[in-house]
Amino acid sequence: MRSQLFQQYQELITSYLNEKREDTLYAAQQMSKWMMEQKIPPEEMVSVHAEVLKEYLPDLPQEVGDSFNILLEMMIGYGIALRKHESLVHRQKELEYEIEVAVGMQQTLLPDHPPRMHGLDVGVISVPAHRMSGDYYNFVDHGYGSLGVALADIIGKGIPAALCMSMIKYAMDQLDHPTGGSTGVLERLNSVVERNVDVSMFITMVYGVYEREKHVFRYATAGHEPGFIFREKDNSFEDMRTRGLVLGVAKEITYEEFTVKLEPGDAVVLFSDGVTEARLEGEFLGRERFKDLVRAHMHLPVQEAVEAMYQNLYEKANYELKDDQTIMILRRSK
């Protein structure tokens, strides 16, 4: 390797000193790339340069030759930095791979597709701002034509939020036969979260059960941004009533259940606060503008509607949404 390096470098120097051609400089660049691939440190290069030069100019003044010793010492630090950089690049690739695996696992925590239920159309979209999401949603079959829906926002982003999400998912899976309705679910999740998460972490959640026979939606919220009820008959919205502390702050919390009746075409619109707090041209989207956005898409099937709404937000936010976005719509069939 050393003799090959010496020979190639000697050819380069000789050719350049004799002819001063531009393409020799280009060849030097290529050679430098090759040397980095071969992990030849910069101090080695200085030493080769000195040897080549001494051969080319036998009368090279002693001082010039000796000065290369100083240059060589100077280059050692750069060589160390280069090796450190290479090891960091390698470590980063490993981390990227781990995150990629985690992203895939996180996807498996969410339902594959919204449930199909006679008499109710369900649409949902959830897009993380970065790689991992702090938003969570789930559907739970309550039997007897009743569907449970959960939408949660885990405060904090990235990996800690994702870990917390898996806890919520498994805690919900433990509630095999959810009894006690929406308030019972929130109360039990609260005690799990309160015992198991860091003090500055908390979770907002809305949990509701749609009863197909009675066309009612019974829900309770734990500090979650209130959703809306869309009324088909006059194309209007009602704010959902909410009351209740976020999950994970205090023990022994009780929640309150509210009930709304859906007429044909009416819809329950739930979302995470990343939606209303999206900054479009420097301003928050806000609840009123979000209502306009929903209204403009209610002529579509609900799944298409939520996807189009997200796309619209994404474009208006200049393709830069800083928080996770989740929108879920449950619409009674017309």
Binding site: G223, P226, E277
Partner: protein, 105 residues
């Protein structure tokens, strides 16, 4: 926009801190570092939020952490001078029911 946290008054058992600027995912750790030791040293921590321009949920997380830490030792956290936006955030999250809030001084 930066965050500043300054001590206003202090006694053996209580301290009042003035928080100004934006509390978000980037600045919340600074607030946590200042606040958490105080919750272990004092009985009452007053936070004047009059000049907070923006607080997101990460900031709320810090307030909740301080509240829990104080409560664990029988102390209390008091928030002063909140903007309409911040009041709404605390109301939605149900925190107004457990954290003491006083009008701006």
């Amino acid at each position: 926009m930066n965050l500043t946290i300054q001590e206003k008054t202090q006694s053996d058992t209580a301290i009042t801190m003035v928080v100004s600027g934006e509390v978000d995912a980037y600045t919340a750790p600074q607030l946590r570092e200042k606040l958490m030791p105080l919750t272990k040293q004092k009985q009452e921590v007053f936070l004047d939020l009059t000049t907070v321009e923006y607080m997101d949920s990460t900031g709320l997380g810090v307030l909740i952490g301080a509240y829990k830490s104080l409560r664990a030792q029988g102390g209390r956290l008091v928030l002063i001078g909140m903007s309409a936006r911040l009041s709404r955030l605390l109301k939605i999250t149900g925190l107004t029911e457990i954290i003491d809030i006083e009008d701006g001084a």
